[in-house]
Symmetry: C2
Subunit: 445 residues, 2 copies
């Protein structure tokens, strides 16, 4: 495992811990207090306990491998020096006011970097809201309620921690979760090229999603992507000129997006242009086998949404092959007079045979990827049994687009996910997910 002191620290010091609710050092304590090793609240001005842990005066009095640094920027050089002396292996610096400010800030960051290098210390940040590994109950962040974030198999590495947190909460609201989220901030000595291999090594991470504002180590980033065996989806912000903002935010260099576009054009890597697409691409990549080709078999219970999905996919590498004679015969046996038995297959309305129709299309030799759309009906439910069988027997991606009343679809949706059938919420999101799977094999043949 790379970055072990971030993934699996034995002992965590919260430097600048506070017993006062609302303070950064209290929020950080409240997030990390449940993690299963010793926690050390460090604050020479405090005594007593916070969340049941006794305050200590200095990190030197601890056996912490990880330090969460909740102190203001001007105290940060001393704190990192003390961390080094104490044998801390990794630190997270939340404070801003460093390289992204230029001048003094850049100098201060440079000094901290030298100290960290002398002690061979991994530093996440500065200028980050931190990171989270929900599977381990490990939340190295001051963000309130980050412990609500669910567990999942998508790993997030975001230049902006705010974007990583936004996406983590979105995934959770939608019923999913994350394997890990790393907000990089200023990338002082821990950048994309460090976190990507760590997530690639992480057995709980089945896909990596990446938010990039701009970074000096583009070559290292691209090498890390090439080396990774885990599929990756990338969102590079900056279609238009946002250079001033990105520099002021995370000290991002002014760069032409074309560098990234060219570098990201590789098998196993998908590019998207929004946070929602990034999450959907990540889930599709994480849960699906790699498709053998671009041939999409589309099964829909409602023509209108099916046409929207077809229209979208016609703008991608997707092809819509004819179904084999055998499949057509099966479909005709299943549903005599089916509404539209070409590809897309339109059943006209959900019906008990819907699962058998999906089965027929999924087993068609001409089809590499199956995309399904259905508005949920209580009396029919989703064809979960058929999907479980298919997922076990047919090694093709099956993306299921669900629609309908609110909580009606939650349970069966979870069952489908558990069977390896990722689900999506709107016609466009289902189609975009298939588009992502297709992009992941482009250039691979």
């Amino acid at each position: 495992m790379s970055l072990p002191a971030l993934f699996d620290p034995d002992g965590v010091a919260v430097i600048g811990a506070s017993a006062t609710p609302g303070k950064l050092g209290n929020d950080a304590m409240s997030n990390v207090e449940a993690y299963g090793t010793e926690i050390y609240p460090v604050n020479p001005s405090s005594s007593g306990t916070v969340f049941g842990y006794e305050f200590v005066d200095s990190v030197r009095e601890t056996d912490a491998e990880l330090a969460l640094c909740c102190v203001p920027r001007h105290l940060q050089p001393d704190v990192i020096e003390e961390c080094g002396e104490a044998g801390v292996e990794a630190a997270v610096i939340f404070a801003g006011g460093f390289a992204e400010m230029g001048g003094d800030g850049a100098e201060l960051q440079h000094a901290i970097a030298e100290t960290a290098a002398a002690y061979d210390m991994t530093v996440l940040g500065p200028n980050t809201a931190g990171y989270a590994i929900p599977h381990e109950d490990l939340y190295g962040s001051f963000v309130p309620r980050i412990r609500d974030v669910g567990t999942g198999n998508v790993g997030l590495v975001t230049q902006s921690a705010g974007v990583g947190i936004t996406m983590s909460f979105q995934l959770t609201r939608e019923g999913y979760g994350i394997s890990a989220m790393f907000g990089l901030g200023n990338r002082m000595n821990t950048g994309f090229a460090d976190v990507i291999p760590a997530l690639d090594d992480d057995p709980r991470t089945d896909a990596i999603v990446m938010h990039v504002e701009g970074t000096d180590d583009v070559d290292a980033l691209l090498r890390a992507c090439q080396t990774a065996e885990t599929p990756i989806a990338a969102f590079k912000v900056g279609e238009h000129d946002i250079a001033d903002l990105a520099r002021a935010h995370t000290a991002a260099p002014a760069q032409d997006n074309a560098i990234y576009e060219a570098g990201f054009d590789q098998p196993g890597l998908v590019t998207v242009s929004s946070t929602t697409e990034l999450l959907d691409a990540g889930r599709a990549l994480a849960d699906s086998p790699t498709p053998d080709g671009p041939n999409v078999g589309l099964v829909t219970a409602q023509a209108g949404p099916g046409i929207i999905m077809t229209d979208f996919l016609k703008g991608t590498a997707a092809t819509f092959p004819d179904l084999t004679d055998e499949t057509r015969k099966r479909l005709d046996e299943i549903l005599p007079g089916i509404t539209y038995a070409e590809n897309p297959v339109d059943t006209g309305r959900p019906m008990p045979e819907f699962g058998a129709v999906i089965d027929a299309v999924a087993r068609d030799d001409n089809v590499d990827i199956v995309l399904v759309y259905e508005i949920y009906e209580d009396s029919l439910g989703y064809p979960v049994d058929e999907l479980e069988t298919l997922s076990a027997e047919v090694d093709k991606p099956i993306c299921f687009t669900v629609a309908g009343p609110d909580h009606a679809l939650e349970d069966e949706r979870r069952q489908m996910e558990a069977a390896g059938v990722p689900t999506f919420d709107t016609p466009e999101r289902g189609a975009q997910a298939v588009g992502a799977l297709l992009e992941s094999i482009s250039g691979a043949e």
Copy 2:
């Protein structure tokens, strides 16, 4: 009110009503049974009651103004003739197999159209899942649980009822609702040009959203859009060639999308390219005053999402004006050392002063539209009080993009909506909503 027998029928006949759960005629009964006028289940093969209403043998025995026709296609001509004799003013034909099939189907539809014309009867469909007016508890549809759809101020007119139902459920899942939803299907004698004026007249509809696959009466559609005083958002499917599918679905003619693109380029009309954008544009248009110009003031508590929104808006007509000296002075008083006090204004983290920062930007004379982004924190909440004051005192759109843990944001989100501040879920959706408001004034100056 246009189309009164669809909006406000006195008596509803369900022709082909059934007491058997799962049958179309039972689903339609279950949806309409709560509507506050007499309901007549019509079925000569049934006796007794269904949902407390006594079966009758023929629509001629009823005083229904509206008929929901749940019978197979071959019975439809006789049913419409009987409806006419009975004085029915409007009918919904659910069955498919008409113009969209060509040949016999087209002839059958033509015959029904002649009968309807003879009796001056409004017919929705054929080949539709119907319509819904939740404010009236009026659900002229067989779709199970359509009664779960919430009330709101956006009216939907969709060529595909499946798309209309999908969007109605999506709005409801996200905490909103609709004023009405009309699925047009084959548009036999009730098309876009009929429903748009009806929604324009409807006092509960503050914006109209429209899904178009293709229609012969393009000119009438465009005239209806021009005449409507209610803002409209339109999603024309068919960026690529979907002509075969659209014809087989709703008898849509093969047309060049350019006809629509040119026609839709008018003030008060916004075009989008997905169902989610359609809903967001609709909510933004429904809840916001018309902006005076393209000058966006962006206030964000987290830089990363703010940069994503800025990047998106730079691809639209948006401009980001400098704030006035007065505003900068106010900001400096509110938050000395604010992270980024240009426009966008980045506060670096949510804080108690966040509402005051929004207030300062919203009152800036250089700003026409305010876009806000904030990750929710329990201890701070959203600045609801400030937004309520602003909304009352400042006649500018304020779009609030919310992020955070699941249910934490529901209550305050509703309060913001009630105050006339529409809320959006992801950076892109907030930015797209502002983009829609900007497009609505393009060409208007």
